[in-house]
């Protein structure tokens, strides 16, 4: 089974990935957890979700807006946000809105050109699972994500902001 890095309680660990990434050309397997493209989910997601027999995830590309998922979010187990290049920062906004605006509690997975140098930003925006593209280990990921003792702005993590530390 393929592995990915999952983050829980500030610790990154290897975890088995139970989800199968189904491309738009593939047939959806009979059983098992799947991640579909947003386009495919919009066409076939309802049927899969109502069968209630497996978990369903959606892969959202960086030029797609997560708002279209708003209605289905409570039933979606994973939102995989794609980084076509590490420089493409749109998924940070998508992740933050999922957590902050839509109160999404499922897994937000970073896929694509995912590098350990971005770990801190990703964690702060609400990502909690990662498919690193640079061979990063969970140890490296934890280290990269916790490099800074202080933060200057509110985000999704529960780190106290500098002004809150000052006031306390």
């Amino acid at each position: 089974m393929p592995r990915l890095i999952e983050l829980a309680d500030g610790q990154a660990r290897w975890a088995d990935d139970a989800f199968v990434n189904v491309t738009d050309e593939d047939a959806i397997p009979e059983t098992g957890d799947v991640i579909l493209s947003l386009t495919r989910f919009e066409a076939e997601g309802d049927g899969l979700l109502s069968s209630n027999s497996r978990r369903v995830g959606v892969r959202v590309e960086s030029d797609q807006e997560i708002e279209v998922l708003a209605y289905d979010l409570p039933r979606i187990a994973v939102v995989a946000l794609a980084f076509p290049k590490f420089r493409d920062g749109r998924a940070y906004t998508s992740a933050r809105l999922l957590r902050e605006r839509f109160k999404y509690e499922g897994q937000i997975r970073a896929v694509g050109d995912v590098l350990q140098e971005q770990a801190g930003f990703m964690v702060r925006c609400g990502f909690d699972a990662f498919e690193p593209n640079d061979g990063a280990t969970p140890e490296a990921w934890t280290k990269a994500a916790s490099r800074f003792r202080h933060v200057y702005q509110r985000a999704i993590d529960d780190k106290p902001v500098a002004f809150e530390e000052r006031a306390s």
Partner: protein, 552 residues
């Protein structure tokens, strides 16, 4: 001045440690140059024509003496003895060795300086008024808001991989010394009729290959809503700015494509969804930051200083310096002193280690330990007693820092150009020096009056040529350096993009052409008109004729 507390200091230490690790991995061959490039850029380290260049942030252009001395030390120990101030109030060191970079960042961090976000597609250092806290014109101290933005934008998790770089300028005076209208966001502080403070928000100005004077998208934003509104603007840009073409990725292209009204509507829509209680700062933090910029402890002095008046009558060089470089202060008995880095034969914006130390000493001894950098690449001692001005002048003069040319024809902005920069098509520095030589007579320069010349070595326009009274753009014509002149631009409150005068000229024709333009201006100017005013009244034709007529 804002003093870094333990939190700010630990933040810089963590950043320094992170970069030290990255450089070690690069030097050990664990990272390729391709992988390392984005990491070094986020720490202000560029690979230029001859060496690495390190750009150090000077937050809103404000320095104390210890910081200026440390910059001098770095210039001396790691560079060739000088630093170069940029058009965004930062400083660049042009001859840095990669292995030294972590040590330099550590030394900077010791005096609360850093290179965070001086490069990369993120929110850069905020430009602010170098006269902040000293000019009577301002409705508030813009440094308070610049510091609010500094903290909020530092390693912002959502906005560190924007489509392109993002620059904010803020001014609280009617006279704009920040080029706010050609920034990605320009914040102009206003006082409402009820006395409430707010910002006029301009979005989508810019230079480069598609210059725009930015449109106003919000007339009055209450100050305490600043951060939530910035968040809305940045979010709309992060999601919808173009990422397919680096030349169309700045926010100005998005604003122009949507139209200012539609862009503003999208921002309002996003803003309405943001939870203000989470996004805007609590009042206590605003108050804490404001207290850090508490009023300077000025003495109560008479408005007139006998020592100052006497020195003016006895020393004509001092009198000239006062006419051009000394500006009105809000406090009686004090003055704002501009220190020109544009002496003849100098590289515009360069300061030697010794000069930095001289200015640091003056700031400490006579100027409340306060020193500023201007976007015009000069320095400012914002609070000098009139009584002390003759001594300060003499000290500056001895260090080659008393050139009396602020806003005059030889106060030229120039980018590093082909002498240093990997992007340039042509040199900028020698052209600036040619022009300074052509107008070396200070009486003539004063007769000509305010004339802003700005030179860029390529279309990226780091030398602000689009917003110059006379703009000069270096172009490459079959391997030869040529220069295209434009007239009538302005980066100030009367912002405008200049118009191209005619065919590009070879390097040895540029200074003469400027002389011909000045001749045409002096022929037709009305009383009290600046070059820019005359141009706006008479148009391009008389100037075109002056430069090109004989050549035909």
């Amino acid at each position: 001045m804002y003093q870094y507390d333990l939190i700010d200091k630990e933040f810089l230490a963590d950043r320094s440690a992170e970069f030290r690790g990255q450089v070690a991995r690069r030097l050990a061959g664990e990272l390729t140059e391709d992988q390392f490039k984005p990491l070094r850029l986020m720490n202000g380290l560029y690979l230029q024509l001859h060496a690495y260049m390190l750009r150090v942030a000077i937050p809103y252009g404000s320095l104390n003496a210890a910081q200026a001395r440390r910059l001098a030390e770095i210039a001396r120990d790691y560079d060739k003895g000088y630093g170069h101030f940029t058009t965004r109030q930062n400083i660049q060191f042009n001859w840095i060795k990669l292995k030294d970079a972590p040590e330099i960042l550590d030394k900077l961090a010791e005096v609360d300086l850093h290179a965070i976000q001086t490069s990369g597609n993120c929110i850069r250092n905020t430009t602010s008024d170098p006269y902040a806290g000293a000019t009577a014109e301002e409705v508030d101290d813009p440094r308070v808001w610049a510091e609010v933005i500094r903290q909020w934008s530092t390693l912002h998790p959502e906005f560190s991989y924007l489509p392109r770089k993002f620059k904010i300028a803020i001014t609280a005076s009617a006279k704009d010394r920040t080029a706010a209208k050609v920034h990605d966001i320009g914040l102009l502080m206003r006082q409402g009729r009820d006395g409430q403070l707010g910002f006029e928000v301009i979005v989508g100005g810019g230079q480069g290959r598609t210059p725009y004077v930015g449109p106003t998208i919000k007339q009055f934003l209450p100050t305490d809503r600043l951060l939530s509104y910035l968040e809305a603007v940045l979010r709309v840009y992060n999601r919808h700015g173009r990422r397919d073409n680096i030349y169309k990725a700045r926010i100005k292209i998005l604003v122009a494509a949507l139209g200012a009204e539609e862009f503003g509507r999208q921002v309002e829509q996003e803003w309405a969804k943001i939870d203000a209680a989470r996004a805007d700062l609590p009042a206590a933090e605003y108050a804490r930051i404001r207290a850090a910029f508490a009023a300077t402890p000025f003495e109560t002095l008479p408005a007139r200083s006998e020592a100052f008046e006497l020195a003016k009558t006895k020393d004509s060089a001092f009198a000239r310096f006062v006419r051009n470089n000394v500006k009105a202060h809000k406090q009686p008995g004090y003055a704002i002193v501009e220190v020109s880095l544009k002496a003849a034969d100098q590289t515009p914006g360069d300061a030697s280690a010794h000069q930095l130390e001289v200015v640091a000493d003056l700031a400490e001894r006579y100027g409340f330990n306060d020193l500023r950098v201007t976007h015009v690449q000069n320095l400012v001692l914002p609070h000098i007693k009139l009584d002390d001005l003759p001594t300060v002048f003499a000290t500056l003069q001895a260090a080659g820092l008393a050139t009396a040319n602020i806003d005059l024809i030889s106060d030229i902005i120039a980018c590093p150009g082909l002498d240093y920069c990997a992007l340039a098509n042509a040199r900028a520095i020698p052209i600036a020096q040619d022009i300074a030589r052509q107008f070396a007579d200070p009486d003539r320069a004063e007769t000509i009056g305010e004339l802003k010349i700005k030179i860029s070595g390529c279309i990226n326009a780091c030398g602000h040529h689009h917003v110059a009274h006379i703009g000069i753009l270096g172009v490459d014509k079959k391997g030869e350096e040529f220069y295209q002149l434009s007239l009538g631009g302005s980066g100030a409150e009367d912002a405008a993009i200049g118009k191209i005068l005619g065919p590009a000229l070879p390097a040895d024709r540029v200074a003469t052409a400027v002389d011909q333009l000045v001749g045409a201006y002096l022929n037709v100017r009305a009383d009290g008109e600046r070059f820019l005013d005359t141009y706006r009244r008479v148009g391009l034709e008389p100037f075109k004729e002056a430069v090109y007529a004989q050549a035909d």
